[in-house]
Protein backbone atom coordinates (compact mmCIF):
# COMPACT_ATOMS: atom_id res chain seq x y z
CA UNK A 1 0.00 0.00 0.00
CA UNK A 2 1.30 3.45 -0.84
CA UNK A 3 1.17 6.28 1.63
CA UNK A 4 -0.53 9.35 0.25
CA UNK A 5 1.96 12.00 -0.96
CA UNK A 6 0.41 14.62 1.28
CA UNK A 7 1.16 12.40 4.31
CA UNK A 8 4.76 11.68 3.26
CA UNK A 9 5.23 15.40 2.74
CA UNK A 10 4.05 16.08 6.30
CA UNK A 11 6.22 13.31 7.74
CA UNK A 12 9.26 14.53 5.81
CA UNK A 13 8.73 18.09 6.94
CA UNK A 14 8.43 17.02 10.55
CA UNK A 15 11.51 14.77 10.40
CA UNK A 16 13.63 17.48 8.82
CA UNK A 17 12.45 20.00 11.38
CA UNK A 18 13.15 17.53 14.20
CA UNK A 19 16.68 16.91 12.91
CA UNK A 20 17.38 20.61 12.75
CA UNK A 21 15.80 21.29 16.13
CA UNK A 22 17.77 18.56 17.88
CA UNK A 23 21.05 19.91 16.51
CA UNK A 24 20.23 23.37 17.79
CA UNK A 25 18.98 22.01 21.09
CA UNK A 26 22.24 20.13 21.66
CA UNK A 27 24.22 23.28 20.88
CA UNK A 28 22.12 25.44 23.19
CA UNK A 29 22.34 22.84 25.95
CA UNK A 30 26.14 22.67 25.82
CA UNK A 31 26.58 26.42 25.66
CA UNK A 32 23.98 26.97 28.36
CA UNK A 33 25.50 24.32 30.62
CA UNK A 34 28.96 25.83 30.39
CA UNK A 35 27.86 29.44 30.67
CA UNK A 36 25.58 28.81 33.65
CA UNK A 37 28.33 26.92 35.45
CA UNK A 38 31.10 29.30 34.45
CA UNK A 39 29.94 32.87 34.03
CA UNK A 40 29.25 33.36 37.74
CA UNK A 41 32.97 32.96 38.42
CA UNK A 42 34.08 35.32 35.66
CA UNK A 43 35.19 38.64 37.08
CA UNK A 44 37.34 41.41 35.73
CA UNK A 45 40.16 40.13 37.92
CA UNK A 46 39.76 36.66 36.41
CA UNK A 47 40.42 38.12 32.96
CA UNK A 48 43.35 40.32 33.95
CA UNK A 49 45.33 38.49 36.59
CA UNK A 50 48.11 35.92 36.25
CA UNK A 51 47.46 32.25 36.89
CA UNK A 52 48.15 31.52 40.56
CA UNK A 53 48.66 28.21 42.31
CA UNK A 54 48.44 26.18 39.07
CA UNK A 55 45.01 27.58 38.35
CA UNK A 56 43.39 27.34 41.75
CA UNK A 57 43.61 31.09 42.10
CA UNK A 58 44.22 34.23 40.16
CA UNK A 59 43.02 34.74 36.60
CA UNK A 60 43.74 33.42 33.14
CA UNK A 61 45.43 36.36 31.43
CA UNK A 62 48.50 34.32 30.37
CA UNK A 63 46.22 31.71 28.81
CA UNK A 64 44.28 34.39 26.93
CA UNK A 65 47.50 35.94 25.66
CA UNK A 66 48.89 32.50 24.78
CA UNK A 67 45.72 31.65 22.87
CA UNK A 68 45.75 34.88 20.92
CA UNK A 69 49.43 34.63 20.01
CA UNK A 70 49.23 31.00 18.96
CA UNK A 71 46.13 31.56 16.84
CA UNK A 72 47.81 34.56 15.22
CA UNK A 73 50.86 32.50 14.32
CA UNK A 74 48.69 29.65 13.04
CA UNK A 75 46.42 31.83 10.90
CA UNK A 76 49.27 34.08 9.83
CA UNK A 77 50.92 31.06 8.28
CA UNK A 78 47.98 28.87 7.27
CA UNK A 79 45.85 31.57 5.62
CA UNK A 80 48.35 32.88 3.05
CA UNK A 81 49.80 29.43 2.43
CA UNK A 82 46.38 27.83 2.12
CA UNK A 83 44.91 30.52 -0.12
CA UNK A 84 48.01 30.45 -2.33
CA UNK A 85 47.74 26.66 -2.64
CA UNK A 86 44.06 26.93 -3.47
CA UNK A 87 44.73 29.56 -6.13
CA UNK A 88 47.38 27.32 -7.62
CA UNK A 89 45.04 24.32 -7.66
CA UNK A 90 41.97 26.16 -8.91
CA UNK A 91 43.42 28.74 -11.28
CA UNK A 92 46.93 27.85 -12.35
CA UNK A 93 46.96 24.14 -13.07
CA UNK A 94 45.05 21.83 -15.31
CA UNK A 95 42.98 19.09 -13.79
CA UNK A 96 45.07 15.92 -13.99
CA UNK A 97 46.95 13.20 -12.13
CA UNK A 98 49.07 15.72 -10.26
CA UNK A 99 46.19 17.86 -8.95
CA UNK A 100 44.17 14.77 -8.11
CA UNK A 101 47.05 13.43 -6.08
CA UNK A 102 47.55 16.76 -4.30
CA UNK A 103 43.84 17.03 -3.57
CA UNK A 104 43.71 13.43 -2.31
CA UNK A 105 46.62 14.22 -0.01
CA UNK A 106 44.90 17.32 1.31
CA UNK A 107 41.71 15.40 1.98
CA UNK A 108 43.67 12.71 3.83
CA UNK A 109 45.43 15.37 5.91
CA UNK A 110 42.06 16.90 6.79
CA UNK A 111 41.05 13.58 8.30
CA UNK A 112 44.21 12.98 10.33
CA UNK A 113 43.56 13.15 14.11
CA UNK A 114 45.00 16.26 15.69
CA UNK A 115 47.17 14.24 18.08
CA UNK A 116 49.17 13.11 15.04
CA UNK A 117 49.80 16.74 14.14
CA UNK A 118 50.87 17.23 17.75
CA UNK A 119 53.41 14.45 17.46
CA UNK A 120 54.55 15.70 14.06
CA UNK A 121 54.96 19.22 15.43
CA UNK A 122 56.82 17.93 18.46
CA UNK A 123 59.32 16.04 16.33
CA UNK A 124 59.78 18.66 13.61
CA UNK A 125 59.43 22.03 15.33
CA UNK A 126 60.20 21.29 18.97
CA UNK A 127 63.05 18.81 18.52
CA UNK A 128 64.56 18.95 15.01
CA UNK A 129 64.20 22.67 14.39
CA UNK A 130 64.93 23.39 18.01
CA UNK A 131 62.12 25.83 18.75
CA UNK A 132 61.40 23.92 21.96
CA UNK A 133 57.99 23.98 23.63
CA UNK A 134 56.96 27.38 22.48
CA UNK A 135 54.19 29.50 21.04
CA UNK A 136 56.04 29.34 17.74
CA UNK A 137 56.07 25.53 17.67
CA UNK A 138 52.43 25.43 18.75
CA UNK A 139 51.36 27.97 16.14
CA UNK A 140 53.26 26.19 13.38
CA UNK A 141 51.73 22.83 14.31
CA UNK A 142 48.25 24.34 14.46
CA UNK A 143 48.90 25.88 11.05
CA UNK A 144 49.73 22.43 9.67
CA UNK A 145 46.56 21.08 11.23
CA UNK A 146 44.19 23.69 9.79
CA UNK A 147 45.93 24.04 6.43
CA UNK A 148 43.85 21.32 4.68
CA UNK A 149 40.59 22.95 5.81
CA UNK A 150 41.73 26.37 4.62
CA UNK A 151 42.86 25.01 1.25
CA UNK A 152 39.69 23.02 0.67
CA UNK A 153 37.27 25.81 1.52
CA UNK A 154 39.31 28.38 -0.40
CA UNK A 155 39.41 26.16 -3.47
CA UNK A 156 35.66 25.61 -3.30
CA UNK A 157 35.15 29.35 -2.99
CA UNK A 158 37.38 30.07 -5.99
CA UNK A 159 35.61 27.46 -8.10
CA UNK A 160 32.21 28.93 -7.29
CA UNK A 161 33.13 32.23 -8.97
CA UNK A 162 31.46 32.24 -12.41
CA UNK A 163 33.81 31.31 -15.27
CA UNK A 164 32.35 34.32 -17.13
CA UNK A 165 34.18 36.74 -14.86
CA UNK A 166 37.50 35.18 -15.83
CA UNK A 167 36.61 35.28 -19.53
CA UNK A 168 35.62 38.94 -19.37
CA UNK A 169 38.80 39.91 -17.57
CA UNK A 170 40.99 37.89 -19.95
CA UNK A 171 39.24 39.29 -23.00
CA UNK A 172 39.92 42.81 -21.70
CA UNK A 173 43.63 42.07 -21.58
CA UNK A 174 44.15 40.89 -18.01
CA UNK A 175 47.12 38.68 -17.27
CA UNK A 176 46.37 35.45 -15.47
CA UNK A 177 47.44 37.03 -12.18
CA UNK A 178 45.17 40.02 -12.80
CA UNK A 179 42.32 37.67 -13.62
CA UNK A 180 42.85 35.99 -10.25
CA UNK A 181 43.33 39.12 -8.16
CA UNK A 182 40.66 41.32 -9.75
CA UNK A 183 38.00 39.05 -11.22
CA UNK A 184 38.11 36.01 -8.94
CA UNK A 185 39.51 36.71 -5.46
CA UNK A 186 37.16 39.58 -4.55
CA UNK A 187 34.16 37.35 -5.18
CA UNK A 188 35.67 34.29 -3.50
CA UNK A 189 36.57 36.27 -0.38
CA UNK A 190 33.49 35.41 1.73
CA UNK A 191 34.05 31.70 1.13
CA UNK A 192 37.75 31.97 1.82
CA UNK A 193 37.05 33.86 5.04
CA UNK A 194 34.66 31.12 6.12
CA UNK A 195 37.53 28.65 5.86
CA UNK A 196 39.82 30.94 7.80
CA UNK A 197 37.20 31.36 10.52
CA UNK A 198 36.80 27.60 10.73
CA UNK A 199 40.57 27.41 11.08
CA UNK A 200 40.59 29.98 13.88
CA UNK A 201 37.87 28.05 15.67
CA UNK A 202 39.74 24.76 15.39
CA UNK A 203 42.97 26.37 16.61
CA UNK A 204 41.31 27.91 19.64
CA UNK A 205 39.65 24.71 20.74
CA UNK A 206 42.62 22.44 20.09
CA UNK A 207 44.35 20.85 23.10
CA UNK A 208 46.32 17.81 21.91
CA UNK A 209 48.49 19.68 19.45
CA UNK A 210 49.18 22.50 21.89
CA UNK A 211 50.17 20.28 24.81
CA UNK A 212 52.64 18.43 22.59
CA UNK A 213 54.21 21.49 21.01
CA UNK A 214 53.71 24.53 23.22
CA UNK A 215 53.75 22.87 26.61
CA UNK A 216 51.56 24.23 29.36
CA UNK A 217 53.52 26.94 31.15
CA UNK A 218 51.43 29.15 33.40
CA UNK A 219 53.73 32.17 33.20
CA UNK A 220 52.95 35.15 31.01
CA UNK A 221 54.71 34.57 27.67
CA UNK A 222 57.07 37.36 26.69
CA UNK A 223 58.25 36.05 23.34
CA UNK A 224 57.21 33.56 20.66
CA UNK A 225 59.87 31.22 21.99
CA UNK A 226 58.21 30.96 25.41
CA UNK A 227 56.12 28.00 26.36
CA UNK A 228 52.49 28.90 26.98
CA UNK A 229 49.11 27.33 27.47
CA UNK A 230 45.96 28.19 25.62
CA UNK A 231 42.57 28.57 27.27
CA UNK A 232 41.56 25.15 25.95
CA UNK A 233 44.64 23.52 27.51
CA UNK A 234 44.12 25.43 30.75
CA UNK A 235 40.56 24.19 30.92
CA UNK A 236 41.64 20.64 30.12
CA UNK A 237 44.27 20.61 32.86
CA UNK A 238 42.02 22.25 35.45
CA UNK A 239 39.18 19.86 34.75
CA UNK A 240 41.17 16.66 34.34
CA UNK A 241 43.40 17.13 37.33
CA UNK A 242 40.47 18.36 39.34
CA UNK A 243 42.36 21.52 40.22
CA UNK A 244 39.40 23.83 40.27
CA UNK A 245 36.04 23.12 38.75
CA UNK A 246 34.88 26.72 39.15
CA UNK A 247 37.86 28.13 37.32
CA UNK A 248 37.65 25.40 34.69
CA UNK A 249 34.09 26.34 33.79
CA UNK A 250 34.86 30.03 33.97
CA UNK A 251 37.67 29.44 31.47
CA UNK A 252 35.35 27.41 29.26
CA UNK A 253 32.83 30.27 29.31
CA UNK A 254 35.47 32.71 28.14
CA UNK A 255 36.55 30.23 25.47
CA UNK A 256 33.01 29.90 24.14
CA UNK A 257 32.40 33.63 24.26
CA UNK A 258 35.65 34.25 22.40
CA UNK A 259 34.63 31.87 19.62
CA UNK A 260 31.17 33.45 19.46
CA UNK A 261 32.64 36.95 19.26
CA UNK A 262 35.10 35.94 16.54
CA UNK A 263 32.35 34.34 14.50
CA UNK A 264 29.95 37.22 14.89
CA UNK A 265 32.54 39.87 14.03
CA UNK A 266 33.85 37.89 11.08
CA UNK A 267 30.40 37.33 9.60
CA UNK A 268 29.35 40.93 10.18
CA UNK A 269 32.53 42.16 8.53
CA UNK A 270 31.95 39.82 5.63
CA UNK A 271 28.38 40.94 5.29
CA UNK A 272 29.43 44.60 5.28
CA UNK A 273 32.09 43.86 2.71
CA UNK A 274 29.67 42.13 0.38
CA UNK A 275 26.93 44.68 0.78
CA UNK A 276 29.39 47.48 0.17
CA UNK A 277 30.55 45.73 -2.96
CA UNK A 278 27.09 45.13 -4.34
CA UNK A 279 25.98 48.68 -3.71
CA UNK A 280 29.25 50.28 -4.76
Amino acid sequence: MRIAPSITQKIAKFMLFAACASAIAALLFVIGFVLVGGLQNVTWAFLTEPILDMGRGGGILPAIVGTILMVFVAIGIAAPLGVASAIYLAEYTLEGKATQTIRFGINCLAGVPSIIFGLFGFILFVVIMGFGWSILSGGLSLAAMILPTVIRTAEEALRSVPQNYRDVAASLGATRWQVVTRAVLPYALPGILTGVILGIGRSIEETAVVIFTAGSAVQMPTSLFDSARTMAVHFYILAREGVSNENAYATASILILTILIINITAYTMMHRLMRGRRAA
Binding site: Y165, V168, S171, L172, G173
Partner: protein
Protein backbone atom coordinates in the same frame (compact mmCIF):
# COMPACT_ATOMS: atom_id res chain seq x y z
CA UNK B 1 40.23 52.00 -51.83
CA UNK B 2 41.07 51.93 -48.17
CA UNK B 3 37.77 50.29 -47.29
CA UNK B 4 38.98 47.16 -49.03
CA UNK B 5 42.22 46.96 -47.10
CA UNK B 6 42.48 43.62 -45.30
CA UNK B 7 42.50 43.96 -41.51
CA UNK B 8 42.35 40.30 -40.52
CA UNK B 9 43.60 37.60 -42.87
CA UNK B 10 42.65 34.04 -41.97
CA UNK B 11 44.19 31.20 -43.99
CA UNK B 12 43.52 27.46 -43.78
CA UNK B 13 42.44 27.73 -40.18
CA UNK B 14 41.72 24.42 -38.49
CA UNK B 15 40.53 24.30 -34.91
CA UNK B 16 39.81 21.15 -32.97
CA UNK B 17 38.69 20.37 -29.43
CA UNK B 18 39.97 16.90 -28.66
CA UNK B 19 38.53 14.72 -31.42
CA UNK B 20 35.93 17.27 -32.48
CA UNK B 21 36.75 19.40 -35.49
CA UNK B 22 35.30 22.85 -34.96
CA UNK B 23 36.78 24.61 -37.99
CA UNK B 24 38.01 22.97 -41.18
CA UNK B 25 40.31 24.90 -43.48
CA UNK B 26 38.66 28.28 -43.16
CA UNK B 27 40.14 31.13 -45.20
CA UNK B 28 38.57 34.54 -44.80
CA UNK B 29 39.52 38.19 -45.04
CA UNK B 30 37.98 40.81 -42.78
CA UNK B 31 38.33 44.27 -44.30
CA UNK B 32 39.28 47.44 -42.48
CA UNK B 33 36.30 49.21 -40.88
CA UNK B 34 33.64 46.89 -42.21
CA UNK B 35 30.98 44.97 -40.34
CA UNK B 36 31.34 41.34 -41.25
CA UNK B 37 28.35 39.29 -40.15
CA UNK B 38 28.95 35.64 -39.55
CA UNK B 39 25.90 33.45 -39.69
CA UNK B 40 25.42 29.74 -39.30
CA UNK B 41 23.57 27.22 -37.17
CA UNK B 42 24.75 26.11 -33.74
CA UNK B 43 28.08 24.26 -33.69
CA UNK B 44 29.14 25.65 -37.04
CA UNK B 45 32.38 27.01 -35.57
CA UNK B 46 31.46 30.68 -35.24
CA UNK B 47 32.66 31.08 -31.67
CA UNK B 48 35.79 29.00 -32.34
CA UNK B 49 36.66 31.41 -35.14
CA UNK B 50 36.38 34.39 -32.78
CA UNK B 51 38.41 32.66 -30.10
CA UNK B 52 41.14 31.88 -32.61
CA UNK B 53 41.39 35.57 -33.47
CA UNK B 54 41.81 36.89 -29.91
CA UNK B 55 43.49 33.68 -28.78
CA UNK B 56 41.00 33.06 -25.99
CA UNK B 57 41.30 29.56 -27.36
CA UNK B 58 44.68 29.38 -25.58
CA UNK B 59 42.62 28.99 -22.41
CA UNK B 60 41.31 25.63 -23.58
CA UNK B 61 44.03 23.02 -23.01
CA UNK B 62 42.30 20.47 -25.25
CA UNK B 63 42.13 22.84 -28.22
CA UNK B 64 44.43 22.40 -31.21
CA UNK B 65 44.93 24.91 -33.96
CA UNK B 66 46.68 25.09 -37.30
CA UNK B 67 46.75 27.63 -40.09
CA UNK B 68 47.28 31.34 -39.92
CA UNK B 69 45.48 34.33 -38.46
CA UNK B 70 47.10 37.70 -39.21
CA UNK B 71 46.07 41.14 -38.02
CA UNK B 72 47.60 43.91 -40.14
CA UNK B 73 49.95 41.26 -41.48
CA UNK B 74 51.13 40.12 -38.04
CA UNK B 75 50.52 36.54 -36.98
CA UNK B 76 48.43 36.51 -33.75
CA UNK B 77 50.39 33.52 -32.44
CA UNK B 78 53.48 35.73 -32.66
CA UNK B 79 52.30 38.18 -30.00
CA UNK B 80 54.66 37.84 -27.08
CA UNK B 81 52.01 39.15 -24.69
CA UNK B 82 48.61 37.79 -25.55
CA UNK B 83 47.17 40.62 -23.40
CA UNK B 84 48.32 43.17 -26.01
CA UNK B 85 46.42 41.24 -28.67
CA UNK B 86 43.27 41.09 -26.56
CA UNK B 87 43.33 44.80 -25.92
CA UNK B 88 43.38 45.33 -29.70
CA UNK B 89 40.63 42.78 -30.35
CA UNK B 90 37.67 43.44 -28.08
CA UNK B 91 34.99 40.89 -27.43
CA UNK B 92 31.34 41.16 -26.42
CA UNK B 93 29.71 37.95 -25.28
CA UNK B 94 26.28 36.52 -25.94
CA UNK B 95 24.89 37.10 -22.49
CA UNK B 96 25.59 40.40 -20.78
CA UNK B 97 28.24 39.79 -18.14
CA UNK B 98 28.35 42.84 -15.90
CA UNK B 99 30.76 42.38 -13.02
CA UNK B 100 29.24 42.96 -9.57
CA UNK B 101 30.66 46.46 -9.19
CA UNK B 102 29.56 49.95 -10.18
CA UNK B 103 28.90 51.05 -13.76
CA UNK B 104 32.00 53.22 -13.67
CA UNK B 105 34.17 50.44 -12.25
CA UNK B 106 32.93 48.05 -14.92
CA UNK B 107 34.06 50.39 -17.68
CA UNK B 108 37.42 51.15 -16.10
CA UNK B 109 38.05 47.46 -15.39
CA UNK B 110 39.95 46.90 -18.65
CA UNK B 111 42.03 50.10 -18.67
CA UNK B 112 42.96 49.33 -15.05
CA UNK B 113 44.94 46.31 -16.17
CA UNK B 114 47.37 48.57 -18.00
CA UNK B 115 47.87 51.38 -15.52
CA UNK B 116 46.33 53.31 -12.68
CA UNK B 117 43.60 55.38 -14.34
CA UNK B 118 43.49 59.00 -13.17
CA UNK B 119 40.14 60.36 -12.09
CA UNK B 120 39.75 62.92 -14.88
CA UNK B 121 40.94 60.43 -17.48
CA UNK B 122 38.51 57.85 -16.09
CA UNK B 123 35.65 60.36 -16.31
CA UNK B 124 36.32 60.97 -19.98
CA UNK B 125 36.65 57.24 -20.78
CA UNK B 126 33.39 56.52 -18.98
CA UNK B 127 31.54 59.31 -20.77
CA UNK B 128 32.87 58.64 -24.27
CA UNK B 129 32.36 54.86 -24.15
CA UNK B 130 28.87 55.10 -22.66
CA UNK B 131 27.92 57.61 -25.34
CA UNK B 132 29.26 55.31 -28.04
CA UNK B 133 27.25 52.46 -26.58
CA UNK B 134 24.07 54.58 -26.50
CA UNK B 135 23.80 54.22 -22.75
CA UNK B 136 25.03 57.57 -21.43
CA UNK B 137 21.67 59.32 -21.14
CA UNK B 138 20.16 56.43 -19.23
CA UNK B 139 22.90 56.06 -16.60
CA UNK B 140 24.80 59.35 -16.40
CA UNK B 141 23.23 60.18 -13.04
CA UNK B 142 24.08 56.86 -11.41
CA UNK B 143 27.54 55.90 -12.58
CA UNK B 144 28.38 54.86 -9.03
CA UNK B 145 25.49 52.45 -8.63
CA UNK B 146 25.72 48.74 -9.24
CA UNK B 147 25.78 47.48 -12.79
CA UNK B 148 23.74 44.51 -11.65
CA UNK B 149 20.70 46.76 -11.24
CA UNK B 150 20.57 47.62 -14.95
CA UNK B 151 18.16 45.88 -17.31
CA UNK B 152 19.47 43.15 -19.60
CA UNK B 153 19.66 45.45 -22.59
CA UNK B 154 21.43 48.15 -20.59
CA UNK B 155 23.84 45.57 -19.22
CA UNK B 156 24.76 44.45 -22.71
CA UNK B 157 25.37 48.04 -23.81
CA UNK B 158 27.47 48.49 -20.68
CA UNK B 159 29.50 45.47 -21.79
CA UNK B 160 29.99 47.13 -25.17
CA UNK B 161 31.16 50.31 -23.43
CA UNK B 162 33.50 48.23 -21.27
CA UNK B 163 34.97 46.61 -24.37
CA UNK B 164 35.41 50.03 -25.98
CA UNK B 165 37.30 51.29 -22.95
CA UNK B 166 40.50 49.53 -23.97
CA UNK B 167 40.11 51.21 -27.38
CA UNK B 168 40.25 48.10 -29.56
CA UNK B 169 40.69 48.34 -33.35
CA UNK B 170 38.60 45.24 -33.83
CA UNK B 171 35.47 44.32 -31.92
CA UNK B 172 33.93 40.89 -32.07
CA UNK B 173 30.33 40.37 -31.06
CA UNK B 174 29.27 36.82 -30.29
CA UNK B 175 25.48 36.77 -30.68
CA UNK B 176 25.20 39.89 -28.51
CA UNK B 177 21.44 40.17 -28.79
CA UNK B 178 20.45 36.58 -28.18
CA UNK B 179 19.04 37.37 -24.76
CA UNK B 180 17.55 40.78 -25.55
CA UNK B 181 14.13 42.11 -26.43
CA UNK B 182 13.59 43.81 -29.84
CA UNK B 183 13.97 47.37 -28.55
CA UNK B 184 17.22 46.61 -26.75
CA UNK B 185 18.37 44.74 -29.85
CA UNK B 186 17.72 47.80 -32.00
CA UNK B 187 19.78 49.96 -29.65
CA UNK B 188 22.68 47.51 -29.72
CA UNK B 189 22.51 47.39 -33.52
CA UNK B 190 22.56 51.20 -33.69
CA UNK B 191 25.66 51.24 -31.52
CA UNK B 192 27.36 48.70 -33.76
CA UNK B 193 26.60 50.64 -36.94
CA UNK B 194 28.08 53.74 -35.34
CA UNK B 195 31.23 51.92 -34.25
CA UNK B 196 32.26 50.79 -37.71
CA UNK B 197 33.28 54.35 -38.62
CA UNK B 198 36.65 53.75 -37.11
CA UNK B 199 36.63 50.08 -36.14
CA UNK B 200 36.54 46.70 -37.76
CA UNK B 201 33.65 44.63 -36.54
CA UNK B 202 32.88 40.94 -36.64
CA UNK B 203 29.30 40.25 -35.76
CA UNK B 204 28.30 36.67 -35.09
CA UNK B 205 24.60 36.01 -35.01
CA UNK B 206 22.24 33.16 -35.65
CA UNK B 207 19.54 35.63 -36.52
CA UNK B 208 19.80 35.98 -40.31
CA UNK B 209 17.59 39.07 -40.44
CA UNK B 210 19.90 40.79 -38.02
CA UNK B 211 22.92 39.86 -40.11
CA UNK B 212 21.18 41.38 -43.12
CA UNK B 213 20.49 44.61 -41.20
CA UNK B 214 23.91 45.09 -39.70
CA UNK B 215 26.54 43.54 -41.95
CA UNK B 216 28.35 45.07 -44.93
CA UNK B 217 29.37 41.58 -45.87
CA UNK B 218 28.18 38.25 -44.56
CA UNK B 219 29.96 34.94 -44.14
CA UNK B 220 28.08 31.67 -43.85
CA UNK B 221 29.65 28.93 -41.75
CA UNK B 222 28.29 25.40 -41.73
CA UNK B 223 29.74 22.45 -39.80
CA UNK B 224 33.09 24.18 -39.45
CA UNK B 225 33.39 25.08 -43.12
CA UNK B 226 33.13 28.49 -44.70
CA UNK B 227 30.44 27.99 -47.32
CA UNK B 228 30.39 31.47 -48.72
CA UNK B 229 31.32 35.06 -48.00
CA UNK B 230 30.04 37.98 -50.02
CA UNK B 231 28.26 41.31 -49.87
CA UNK B 232 25.32 41.01 -47.52
CA UNK B 233 22.84 41.93 -50.26
CA UNK B 234 24.14 39.16 -52.47
CA UNK B 235 24.12 36.54 -49.71
CA UNK B 236 20.49 37.26 -48.93
CA UNK B 237 19.18 37.65 -52.48
CA UNK B 238 21.35 35.66 -54.80
CA UNK B 239 23.82 33.42 -52.98
CA UNK B 240 26.22 31.26 -54.99
CA UNK B 241 25.80 28.17 -52.88
CA UNK B 242 22.62 26.16 -52.48
CA UNK B 243 23.23 25.62 -48.77
CA UNK B 244 23.41 29.37 -48.18
CA UNK B 245 20.17 29.82 -50.07
CA UNK B 246 18.47 27.18 -47.96
CA UNK B 247 19.80 28.60 -44.70
CA UNK B 248 18.94 32.25 -45.30
CA UNK B 249 15.50 31.33 -46.56
CA UNK B 250 14.89 29.39 -43.36
CA UNK B 251 14.83 25.84 -44.70
CA UNK B 252 17.13 24.68 -41.90
CA UNK B 253 19.15 26.00 -38.98
Amino acid sequence: MSADRVKIAIRDLNVGFGDVEALKGVSLDVRLNEVLSIIGPANSGKSSLLMAINRMIDRFPEASLSGSVKIDGVEVSGFRNVEDLRRRVGMVYAMPIPLPMSIRENILFGPGFMKRVKRSEGDSIVESTLKAAYLWDEVKDRLGSSAMALSGGQQQRLCIARTLATNPEIIMFDEPCSGLDPISTAKVEDAIKELKNDRTIIFVTNNTKQAARVGDRTAFLLMGELVEVDDTAKIFTNPSDNRTEEYVSGKFG
